[in-house]
């Protein structure tokens, strides 16, 4: 399944935006870990901005950057959101409240607990009424999102943005499900070659064991192995290098996605 990459957005540890991170991902500059910087989004109305947690901000920041790169209005782009666990802080606070005798749950926390909260805030921020899906596939959530996004581009013949994000749980869930860092990535995919299209991807489902691509830098590889959304790093590195190559992403239970990447120019 073919799609053209018009824009990328990125917010991760030591990766402050796609443009600033490209040379690091391409191996031209050293990577050094730093906590993820996520600016408060001015896309949201004030009331929603107060209610939105870090995962929503990650998704908004990455999605916005991808649209800026692509020069597209987000109101017209269909969306695929992929996350391993949604708003982990919010879930933890709900669970704590439910373990008390009073069981006082905040209505805002409850509506923020849905897995598609980021999609809801995004649509309010961008006034986008195009189709939107919110997926989960545990560690393979990015790969599942990519498969879905590319199939949507193909079936609708219209642009789709994939936004994948993950955020650590606080304790005690962090011990049983450690996610070592905040990470948000957005890839805006279009059905045809446009002026903004830098890369073309050809995505195939491979139902067998093959070795997954890794990040060359040990720090980035640690991120890739630990944060589900950061499993996108080998693909982003291929975009950054601008070379023709094949990236293998782990999918579910021994299956993989094979992504043939080639520059448009």
């Amino acid at each position: 399944m073919l799609a053209y990459v018009e824009g990328v957005g990125l917010a991760g540890p030591g990766l402050r935006g796609w443009l600033a991170s490209r040379s690091i991902l391409a191996g031209q500059e050293p990577y050094s870990f730093a906590p993820t910087f996520v600016a408060a989004s001015d896309l949201l109305p004030a009331a929603e901005r107060r209610r939105a947690g870090t995962p929503v901000k990650l998704a908004l920041a990455a999605g916005h950057e991808a649209h800026v790169q692509a020069g597209r209005d987000a109101a017209a782009t269909a969306t695929v959101f992929a996350s391993s666990s949604g708003d982990c802080d919010n879930v933890h606070h709900m669970l704590e409240a439910l373990a008390t005798p009073e069981r006082q749950v905040s209505p805002t926390r409850f509506h923020n607990s849905v897995h598609n909260a980021a999609a809801g805030y995004w649509s309010i921020a961008t006034q986008c009424r195009a189709p939107s899906t919110s997926l989960c596939c545990h560690d393979a959530s990015f790969a599942a999102g990519l498969l879905e996004a590319v199939s949507q581009v193909l079936s609708a013949g219209a642009p789709v943005v994939l936004i994948a994000y993950d955020h650590p749980y606080p304790e005690p869930l962090n011990t049983v499900r450690p996610i070592p860092g905040d990470f948000g990535v957005a890839i805006l995919l279009a059905p045809g070659r446009t002026e903004r299209a830098a890369t073309v991807v050809d995505v195939a489902f491979v139902p067998q064991e093959i070795e997954a691509s890794r990040a060359a830098d040990p720090g980035l590889e640690k991120l890739r192995a630990g944060v589900p959304a950061a499993r996108s790093l080998p693909l982003l590195a291929a975009f950054a290098r601008g070379t023709r190559e094949t990236v293998i992403l782990e999918y579910v239970a021994g299956t993989h996605l094979q992504v043939a990447v080639s520059p448009c120019s």
Binding site: S106, H115, A119, I124, S134, V176
Partner: protein, 397 residues
């Protein structure tokens, strides 16, 4: 879209287990709602509970996945010859050519709710027998179903609140159309938990009585639990074509508010319009609409408005949530299967518990069941975050 054959389906909820039981209950306007007696919950509300889930366990080889949500998944997979039909499909295609696209809103979060009561008083740690990945994580359901059925195709869970298990029909259709799969198991499960019972209560959206969709005195929803599964295949003569087909699907966002629908039903109208376009049909081609109809003041008013604007007062419609309760993430598949039953058994479901239709609502709402030929049905599912999905189903020619 190219229609897809629905070659098998199974259903379980508070009305009972199996398609025949559910069809008879819906036709007779029976309700499975009863005063809330779930776990330690003390809320003045009605629920649609599936009896006996506390006493069963999932298949021993998948024991790590044991939780209320996956138990109900297993019950559903064993009903209506569903697992057997998938096994036949597996031999017809290959295990790697059958996708699994499930929907759920809360997955096995009940396990974590209970584990948070058993945290170590010194360290705060969760009990050692707690299993996050196989129970709480949203993907757990598709992981369980895929392993249970021995499938090796692509899989994921859609979790967009109460539209989840309608949207999975779209995911399956796209990946079958793209040639990634030959068939797909779609549907999903949601089960009772404290998060949704206390959460909806905090939003003042639950009724103290059994919910009354479209009633003048409706005052909120009743939460239920249930599972439903469907096997989708190409209409190409290679498979034993079912009696019904997926004809179209439409998805949209409200872009309005996280927990309140757009007052004009704008997103809902887009979803219905896109579903009709995708099926290549006009509003007059639809015989019956199964509404989302949660019985909250705002949902029913907004949905009525959007239906009336598209269909006028011509097309009979009803909500079956007075019978089943609101199955949240499982509402989509449940009502899609009820729509298939309406097509196969020639009836338009009446509305359990609704006594007098709100005179402010203008759609052609059915309180009583109507015996009539039903060829095409539109089914609506709307969720928090303004996530809307409409699905068009039809009789196979």
């Amino acid at each position: 879209m190219r229609p897809l054959a629905i070659t098998r389906y199974s259903i379980v909820n508070c009305l009972g287990a199996g398609a025949r039981t559910v069809a008879e209950a819906v036709r007779d306007r029976r309700s499975g709602l009863a005063p809330c007696d779930f776990e330690t919950v003390r809320l003045d509300t009605y629920i649609g509970r599936v009896p006996g889930l506390e006493d069963i366990r999932v298949r021993p080889d998948l024991g790590a996945y044991d939780c209320r949500n996956n138990r109900l998944a297993q019950v559903g997979l064993e009903l209506d010859g569903f697992a057997g039909a998938v096994a036949e499909a597996r031999s017809r295609y290959a295990a790697a050519r059958i996708g699994v696209f499930m929907g759920t809103s809360t997955s096995g979060i009940l396990e974590t709710e209970l584990a948070y009561r058993r945290r170590d008083p010194q360290t705060g740690a969760l009990p050692p027998d707690y299993r996050y990945t196989q129970t709480h994580n949203t993907y757990s359901l598709a992981d369980f179903v895929r392993r249970y059925l021995g499938l090796q195709g692509p899989a994921f869970v859609v979790s967009s609140a109460c539209s989840s298990t309608a949207k999975v029909f779209g995911n399956a259709a796209r990946l079958i159309d793209a040639g990634v799969c030959d068939a797909a198991v779609v549907g999903g499960v949601d089960t009772l938990c404290l998060t949704t019972l206390y959460g909806f209560h905090s939003l003042e959206l639950t009724s103290r009585a059994p919910c009354r969709p479209f009633d003048a005195e409706r005052d909120g929803l009743s939460i239920g639990e249930g599972a439903g599964f469907a096997l989708l295949e190409r209409v190409d003569g290679r498979n034993p074509n079912g009696a019904t087909q997926l004809l179209g699907i439409g998805e949209s966002c409200d872009a309005f508010h996280m927990s309140t629908p757009h007052p004009d039903g704008l997103g809902a109208r887009y979803a219905m319009q896109r579903a009709l376009e995708s099926a290549g049909l006009a509003p007059r081609d639809v015989d019956y609409i199964n509404l989302h109809g949660t019985a909250t003041r705002t949902n029913d008013a907004a949905e009525d408005r959007s239906v009336w604007e598209l269909f006028g007062d011509r097309t009979p419609c009803s909500s079956t949530k007075g019978a089943t309760g609101h199955l949240l993430g499982a509402a989509g598949i449940t009502e899609i299967i009820i729509s298939l039953l309406a097509i196969e058994h020639d009836f338009m479901p009446g509305s359990a518990h609704t006594r007098r239709v709100d005179p402010a609502l203008r759609s052609h709402y059915l309180i009583e069941t109507r015996e009539a030929r039903v060829t095409r049905v539109l089914s609506n599912s709307f969720g928090f975050g303004g996530s809307n999905c409409s699905v068009v189903l039809g009789a196979a020619h």
